[in-house]
Point group: C5
Chain length 322, copies 5
């Protein structure tokens, strides 16, 4: 699907879908043009080479799912690959949305296979406020990026929540399921770090290095996006330590709990042993065991066994073993 937004001071904002108007618009010195390709057909994607004449390598990277953020400066235009993120179906997980940008002085081409909330929101803003595109194409990219980066925060909140949940679960009610969730959290955190760290570097370059197509006044806005990404990458990094801590806590608690049980049961067994020996003694068939003939031999022995058991329990308790 192709959508074209054109803006000039004379003509205001126009929304079109026919690519035939593009060559004309691109020649007009006063026109700003934004072309958005959402999950385009192969035919639609060909405008990248036929109309815009982008470098074959950039087009290849644009069409392929590249997984890795990228910033290539071709002089006339920048080629930019970044990733948005969307809550996954299950709790704590997330999915990435690849966004490709070709940013020229007077045009912007965005290319994405999946629906992007931040691009849609920017479109709406353009339609509502016809001056939105008048601040230049680099500012338009800023607006999209700002929305994209802001979408990370609910995901980070999810992480926080899951970590808190798991911390409580690991300490108070650890189960095999807890272990599974910790490992899945670990993997999600790793994905998050791998997605955010290189984006941070790219925004850093966008905000700091001089590029022909980026106005110096816009760079400070990119800096702002960069600052947000620093915080995101920072949090993603800290989830690593937290998850490792979770695993340590889980293992400590599980092992402690099991040890407690083993200890109690071993104590119990130890208390029973002397009783068995005593009953064994008076079960022996010796002719001459005086106690057996005493009138109160039996209750006395039972009482003695009870005393032994209580003394041992008392001793273990005094030793703080139970």
């Amino acid at each position: 699907m192709i959508e074209i937004f054109a803006f000039s001071k004379e003509n205001g904002l126009r929304r079109m879908t026919d690519v035939a108007v593009l060559p004309g618009l691109l020649k007009e010195e006063t026109e700003f043009v934004w072309v958005d390709l959402e999950s385009p057909t192969e035919e639609e994607a060909q405008i990248l080479s036929t109309i815009f004449n982008f470098h074959p390598l950039a087009i290849e990277d644009c069409i392929a799912e590249s997984h890795l953020p990228k910033l290539d400066d071709f002089g006339d235009y920048l080629f930019l690959v970044l990733h948005g993120a969307r809550r996954g179906d299950s709790s704590g997980g997330f999915k990435t949305v690849e966004l490709n940008f070709f940013l020229g002085k007077r045009y912007l081409v965005t290319y994405h296979q999946q629906l992007s909330r931040s691009i849609n929101r920017t479109k709406e803003r353009c339609l509502k406020n016809s001056l939105a595109m008048s601040r230049g194409m680099d500012f338009l990219v800023y607006e999209i990026l700002d929305g994209t980066v802001d979408n990370y925060f609910p995901i980070l909140d999810d992480f926080d929540e899951v970590i808190n949940d798991l911390e409580h679960e690991a300490i108070h009610n650890p189960s095999k399921e807890t272990l599974n969730r910790i490992f899945s959290l670990k993997r999600d955190g790793m994905s998050l770090r791998r997605v955010t760290s290189p984006q941070r570097e790219i925004l850093n370059r966008l905000s700091r290095d001089p590029f022909a197509v980026i106005n110096k006044r816009t760079a400070i806005y990119y800096r702002d996006v960069y600052d947000h990404l620093v915080r995101i990458a920072d949090l993603a990094e800290s989830y690593k330590d937290l998850t490792t801590g979770l695993l340590e806590a889980y293992l400590s608690v599980v092992s402690n709990r099991l040890n407690e049980i083993m200890k109690l049961l071993t104590v119990f067994t130890a208390v029973m042993m002397p009783l068995t020996v005593i009953t064994g003694i008076y079960g022996m068939n010796f002719k001459n065991i005086p106690e057996l003939n005493w009138s109160y031999g039996y209750p006395f022995t039972i009482g003695f066994m009870a005393i032994i058991a209580f003394v041992m329990l008392g001793f273990f308790r005094w030793k703080k073993w139970i």
Copy 2:
């Protein structure tokens, strides 16, 4: 709440609360102006844009809780976000206080949602000594920062104390509560590192890079704050190793203690086993067990069992198992 401190050599120090005087003061070449906004209303916060005309991004970051220290140079003024720290309610914890600074050549705007001890102390010093503001606004910032950074040291002392406590507890009286406290210490240490490390970088830039609004002679004072922050960040970093060591110590001691118990009880069980077998033997109903008819069979057997028990205990002791 807005407080305005104005100083000029002719007029001395004046303390005001009415923002209406600000435009006039800012125009005077000889006036130094400090505007402090403590948990301001939305209306009060608007002077940032209406009177000072700061960059919208800086104002946005100022009003939002940004969690991350920041240093943005807008040429005419610096925008600075730093964090003070305050002892938390519980032992060992701490809370951060976000301080925002807009530092111009002849004005300083401080903005903070919570009461800040170091800002209050600087105000008092200005009121007592009317020349306090005469060394320039950058020096005023130094005085606030110096106080802010010094407030970290009691928190570090708390950490030291808690670590020493926990070390003693982990080695001599480890309990599940110890584990909880270690993990909470770990998290606090992580927060401390995340708050102090970026601040150190910012003070480094403040003391080293040339900024239009910072006098070269003040930079050496910033360097001093930087040195303090290096030490704080260094200590915060070392708490990481110490906490990991604590956890290792705890786990070693708990595991050793449990193993000791298990060992003793297993030894005990092992000693009881042969006694049971012996009583079992003389409990058998064979017609022809000569020992059963001996007059001293019973006391002899009891004695034999006692000897076996003692020999085994002696053997275990000799082997250093008990």
Copy 3:
């Protein structure tokens, strides 16, 4: 085996195997020459010194298996050692293929002991499209490198698959074999990192630094290969964390499983102990044990023992120990 590809605009593409033509070709200003030595004899390898007059150190490194990627700039020509990879026989493993390049302005010498798929494919492309060599020798190197690097991806897919397999195996059916496979995966991952990281650095230099024999327009193609290598090295790095996670998961699951068994058996033992004591009590030979003479003493005692066993099991279940 030596193959020679010569191309000039006048003469088109020619494929030869006789080294005698080389000196003549190299003198012609308009000829591009590619010499491929595949597992050459010692005699064949001598053309490196006799005809091309390369530096003795470069020739030595070329002939020896150097294991380490390398980029040496000799001004007139670059000497380049890179490694392709091929699936190993067993699942998850891989083998490296060393490729040596001497890249001059108008000639390219490739030297490799083993068959290289990417070199063969480039040869085929040259034979099919006679203009393939017209874009310069540096572009030819790009085409070979691009193929070489693309060959890493199936190996990475193998890794992914093995990791997923092992993850499932470690959590649901851990055995000693799983441990062996995890350690072998760990070693493979280490090899992969050691092969890819230095190659990434070399491609970085190739794409960024100015070299006499590399056209600036080709550098962007090298950049593309570099981007692929960044992703490969990145994935290889992440396998490290994943493998460590695997080991942790395996150890946790094995230890949990064993602990479960030990716990159940200990519970079982603990339930049996009091029963033994009770039978012992009524096995004692005291003259005067009233219960022994009761008519229903025996069934009552058996019932009492059953009750004790059930109460204990209920207690353990209530405590969630079983």
Copy 4:
């Protein structure tokens, strides 16, 4: 306590204690002056500001115990904080001695709260050889630093010895005390790293960067001190790995030893169990147990029990369990 050493080619070396002569000496272009303040009174310390007029921040850092090495260049003079080390009372520990230097072109002020062996030795050398101060104040600093750094080596030797001791102890005779000593060694090693690493950086700057008060010919001597510090920091770093290895060894050995005991005792218990069952069988009161009436039933059963025990022990030994 204040000691003043003055040297000029005309007047030779003089040793004084009266600060009143200082202003005169400092004015003389040909005089070299060394002022040593050892645990000075507050009054004595005031010469830093009254006579030398040092920067207030430097004086503040000098008087406070700063814990962190420091190098501040004030143009006319360098302010330097470094730490010597002294064997602690207990084995393996050490204490640091803070040394403050103000190094000018023709004067040196040393300030330290505790007695410093290297400063005393340098004083003696000056008194013995009146030309010792003629090589400049920067060379005097080198001589003090050289002595200071050399004092680290006996401490490193102590470390080595303690590590060797503990290694032997951990493998052959591990006790709870061993664990304590390992943790205390760990803490000492951490202190050593924290003291030596920043000093190394400072000596690196002293030997490499140009400073007004340091002669280029002296820099190579500073380089030598730097090389020693590199080695010290390197060793301190390696103690980290060695201590971690110690802990691992200790834990492995303790756990192995305990497991050995548990295994032996469990084997012992397992051997006793069938014997108990057999005695139980012939202790049953069935009317009709033929074996009970056999003449040799009893010795035969005892023999059978012995055979069972030996077969089991043999089996366990064959399995290498005992």
Copy 5:
């Protein structure tokens, strides 16, 4: 022992042992002089200061065992400390040989306390081929370094072999001795890293930085030695991971093996318990136990006990516990 090799185009190569000729040789513009001091007496060592007039610090470092590689540029000459390695007596270990070089434009002084194979081999080459010294003293150093570095490879092969051995041992036959060997391997690997990493840096500087006494054409040969050292340091680094992996494997296998034993024995004990209870039941002295009077009570009970044992074993096997 002092050996002097002098070479000039006019006089060819001469081998001398008398230091008296040195001053004369050093004055001749056309003479190349190599002085080798092997475990020299104190008197012999004095030529460093008396004849060559080297810097006192360099001489001090040369005579002392410095343990740390070093490269000091004194303008006229370079002072270089590097370490060769020799197989130790025991398998897997190694010893270092310190080599000191003073490299001038026309002279080379080598100083070593122990016999050095690579120096001896270079001497032989000089004696065989009189032109060996004609390529300059820097090339002579390259030849010695090349031999020195090549001597590391057999040691690395030893490491490889020991690691493979230990891997097999750890998985198939782990014993306490294995643990000792792993820890000793760990220490050796650490020594190897500490020896090779700084040498790599020094060769990097030698091959890259401009030095007055090193010909630019020789630098590429130094680069080659550097590449070998990169590979050595790389392998040494990878031994770290491999050794850690070994320890993990050892601990996993030992713990698994022990757990297996414990499990089997516990299962065995659990099977015995109910049998004991049954024999206990029929050993009770109740008047009225009907089963005791049955003719087949005894064999029936024995059979019942056998069935219980088999059912339990079958259950455990079904659960995959044994």
